[in-house]
Subunit: 197 residues, 4 copies
DNA sequence: TATGAATGAGGATTCATTCAT
DNA sequence: AATGAATGAATCCTCATTCAT
């Protein structure tokens, strides 16, 4: 029953299945066959829609990134003071769609591959740069420059480190608690900065 | 050229080759054949010494952990005040042998596998627990309990996050700079705590 | 050239190739690669259809047994007196499909493996029990019980012994002659029994 | 501690280990390494004493045959009437050293290989011919020629068939019972022959 | 004589990809 | 559009054999 306009639906279905499959068996053990099984379609279809396994994996990572971007924009909407905006950027990384066991596992999988797969590395770099720059724009209004830069650096490292620990803990780590940890650290930096004025 | 007592030498040689091979091609692409090539021996010997690929990988991770433990003990030697000890525990994670491009890449590889390989997961958990507990013992002498716990949590998450970013940056991230970032964050927490007294 | 409904055809083709391959090189020397070569297909397909080498071997033995069962039923059809039925059961073991050089060789191969492979052992036991019981039902109408049992025992041992010798003789042993030997022995037992009445 | 004259002892030790190893895992699964383990020596030594695995296997089969020959001679010693001698030849095949679970298993293993290994085939043929001829010499004094030949044929087939069934039954089949079965069959033939005189 | 380290060929198996239907 | 049969390359692993000690 081929339908017109099925392409985007099938593509998303396969991307979701990919992320689910990575979540259940890790990057080194996913097979095209397993993904297609999870998606409830035949193995051949993946090549029809994506050209190959690598392209599908790239599309899956791109999908995660797109979601993160959308979450960030949503959290920023309507906020104008810099501190709120910094905190909103942070929060976007801890929403259920980004910090669910499945999501953190998928992130870890993609990170582990990025150094060796140019397409994934590019995506990862663009994203890291974007987070850094988003944070920096706001932090520069709150802190002197060298400190703004340092702060952007540790904030993003801490976010990733918390994702990582969540993946390793098997999802035991609460997104809310993780988020609070970053904010508490930020409190310390910002309050001290305020004091010194 | 079989020699008596070669076993420990060969084992270490193969473990080193494994870490090097992971560094150059990632976890999902390492092959027994590549490892043996890097080690300059035949592929069969790996089974002779380790029983199989999985056992070798486990031994390699165990070797990294052993090194971290040794570094920690070395950094702690002779220190008695708690703040110095906390900082020593942190520093052990940024020594060249733990923060080299090769090492951070290997860590990332093992992290990505741990959720799916019981033997690796066990090692990772034991190690995470040890770092946490080491930090906590000292932090409890410096901070009230809920804060000591929170601090131990973000310190270890930040350490891992920095390793991760170093691996993703392809080794561009300096170990010294990364280390300084953690210490600076710790300064903030400890100084505020002192102020409040 | 994938076609719909190829499964049963391919399976039989691979089973036949397996028996042929065993016939030409024995059980310890058959390889998946050789079987697939005889069948004129790729090696991978065996795993597609049977899951693995062991399952294929089991299927091949099962196929031989099914044929023996079919031969037995065919020979028994329409016979009602016990002696004829005993002789028919015997004859089924000496038909061309069961006593051809290829078949006796395959039997020998399976026998040699049965003690170590549970699946094959099970098949062999079920079959031995069936032959024994088939013979016994009829012999009990011809002979007093202890003798019926003994006769069933030696008849089946003799049948297997003749198969074995045929395999060892490289097919020189004629099925017809072998069959006659069993019948002649049976004559002796049955005639003596008649005499004594 | 190399000793003079160790060679024959080591050779026998390795042959015994080979038969034991075949008994525990079948022909297709024996490895040089397993045999040497059973013998309590290193794997390399097998090549020193036998030149290779195949030669060791041949030596092991030869050893079984030598034992059978010795048993036959021992059973024949002092017997002069033909019937006793026929029965003695039969009995030699059911002594513990030839009909033990280990022995019948080894026989089955060798039979299964004989068709494909010239050296083993030769041994098997010589032995079959010897049994046949031994029986025939005596049977010709008891029966008219065509019947003597037929009798020699089924007797040897029955002996082998009983060995085979013993191997397949996992040693459940009693040597004494098996032996009695052959003798009982022989009774029938010989008594009828006497009657007809 | 005896060891066991080391090799390398060969085998089973997995899997991405292709393609006839 | 979709299937799943089929392939063949790649991988892990086994094992007989060699050889320095």
């Amino acid at each position: 029953m081929p339908k017109l306009g099925m392409a985007p639906i099938r593509r998303q279905q396969l991307i979701d299945a990919t992320i689910a499959a990575i979540g259940e068996s890790g990057f080194s053990n996913i097979t095209v066959s397993r993904i297609s099984q999870v998606a409830g379609v035949s193995a051949g279809i993946i090549h029809h829609y994506f050209g190959g396994k690598n392209e599908l994996l790239e599309a899956a990572m791109r999908s995660l990134l797109r979601d993160l971007h959308a979450q960030t924009l949503a959290h920023l909407a309507g906020l104008h003071d810099s501190e709120s905006r910094v905190r909103a950027i942070i929060d976007a990384n801890f929403t259920p769609s980004q910090f669910s066991p499945q999501a953190v596992t998928a992130w870890l999988a993609f990170w582990s591959q990025a150094p060796y797969v140019p397409a994934l590395r590019r995506l990862q770099r663009v994203n890291a740069a974007r987070l850094q720059s988003n944070l920096l724009v706001e932090l520069r209004r709150l802190l002197p420059d060298p400190e703004a830069k340092r702060t952007a650096a540790w904030v993003s490292a801490l976010i990733d480190g918390l994702s990582l620990r969540s993946a390793l803990a098997g999802g035991t780590l609460d997104g809310e608690a993780a988020r609070a940890l970053v904010h508490a650290q930020l409190d310390c930096i910002l309050s001290r900065s305020t004091d010194s004025h």
